[in-house]
Symmetry: C2
Subunit: 298 residues, 2 copies
Amino acid sequence: MNLRALGEDRLLDQLLPSLPRNTAVILGAGDDCAIVEPGKTGRLQLLKTDCLVEEIHFARITPPGRVGWKAMARPLSDFAAMSGVPLFALVTLIVPARRTFSWVRQLYRGIEKAARKFDVAVVGGETSNIKGPAVISVSLSGFVERGRWVSRAGGKAGDELFVTGRLGGSLGGHHLKFVPRIAESRWLTEKFRINAMMDLSDGLGADLPRLARASRVGFEVDEAALPLNRGRTIRQAISDGEDYELLFAISPKDARSLLSRWRKEFPKVPLTRIGKLNSKFEIRNSKLVKGYVHFQKR
Amino acid sequence: MNLRALGEDRLLDQLLPSLPRNTAVILGAGDDCAIVEPGKTGRLQLLKTDCLVEEIHFARITPPGRVGWKAMARPLSDFAAMSGVPLFALVTLIVPARRTFSWVRQLYRGIEKAARKFDVAVVGGETSNIKGPAVISVSLSGFVERGRWVSRAGGKAGDELFVTGRLGGSLGGHHLKFVPRIAESRWLTEKFRINAMMDLSDGLGADLPRLARASRVGFEVDEAALPLNRGRTIRQAISDGEDYELLFAISPKDARSLLSRWRKEFPKVPLTRIGKLNSKFEIRNSKLVKGYVHFQKR
């Protein structure tokens, strides 16, 4: 059955009952707004929105469950980048009326699976028709403790640079099933002082200069040290993008015990020192090409 | 200059500096997430997202400033429906790369104008390319005092039904320039006990049954009493939609002083008693046809 035959009210009747909730939800999807419990004293609120566009971020033939997972996982990865805890999601689904209900249901299952894994309540959203490609947009709200958040701007000359996981070739499949590094990020800020952090979505070559620019410092990368996914080149690790790994800067003093403690806590997740921040505030490494930037060719 | 030539980073450099802020913003657009001050004790958090799709909700030739205004005003109208105070917005803009920067800038000016009018800070968002029609999505976060929020579900048999403003024919222009009824809604919940409320977006004929169903009551409407826009018919007032007026239910006792006090406070905004809720919990009025429902024909 396609969506035109089903109608919006019946579509929502099908989708809303299974949406994940958590204990902070007072009024979930179905009214004009969602109402939720705000954070405790000492918490700041985090907000993030992210979207996937068919034919740009995924293909018509991409399994819809994977698309749903990714749509939720991408803004979750941004929460990891700030060391935040996600709590509530709003989901906007814009699909052509001839798309089947089955496609939409599978997409929602992917969204819900990712939400449940991180105890995120889906508290509302919207559906709309479009005469064109499908769009899925997810907005997240959550919290971070005052004094614990990490932006891109706190990096200092001399800080060591680390990345989690491996880089390159994500479009081979990783980009549809990655697990946002929220547990790792929360552990890092609990145990260490992290000066600057971000998630790698456009590729190290585009993202590291952004962190450096926000921190008003330069950087040096030891390309030979980059943790590569199997069969991938250094150039791919720099330019492919969609790695959704954490890139962070930490003082050399704090960095000393980091690797050994990390290996005990996350034995399956590599952590690699890839270089350091310096005082040059310019792009030094000629091989470090730009990653993917929307609207532009490489 | 079109967006492909400009590139995403330069587009954001152009758009971000002028975004409205307010005193609760700690970290605005440009990092992985926005960070904002949460509400004071005794406040609940409100969340809402809404989108406009080209060729569905607006035309290619609609002035982009008006589209931007509407994109922000629609979720603000949902805040009015709950008697909430909006604080923060995330803006997602999905446009084909050949669209001009001028079009995007005018759209943003409309968004910012509506945000400034209600002291809403635009704290982040996203831009993406699409091979199809433009999409603008706005997510809002804000607060409502504990004990002050109004859902659709609190209506009681015997309650009187009121609507603000006039209904019908909104697509003639009103839908692009309406002012969300936030001031009116806040005044109503400050002075009176409002049992149920919503904003009229799909038309009284679609929206009133939703309020009645959520409240598990029936309703009777005096069609002759409906406040019509100039030159519009009762049928248009019921079915056209996009009025963005408030529909609310209030006890007959509270209703007694409502109209005279309203006229003193809002002399330019009509307030009209259009009927009442009853215990029938069924749709009684055969003329009350369905309003616009997405994916379905009328």
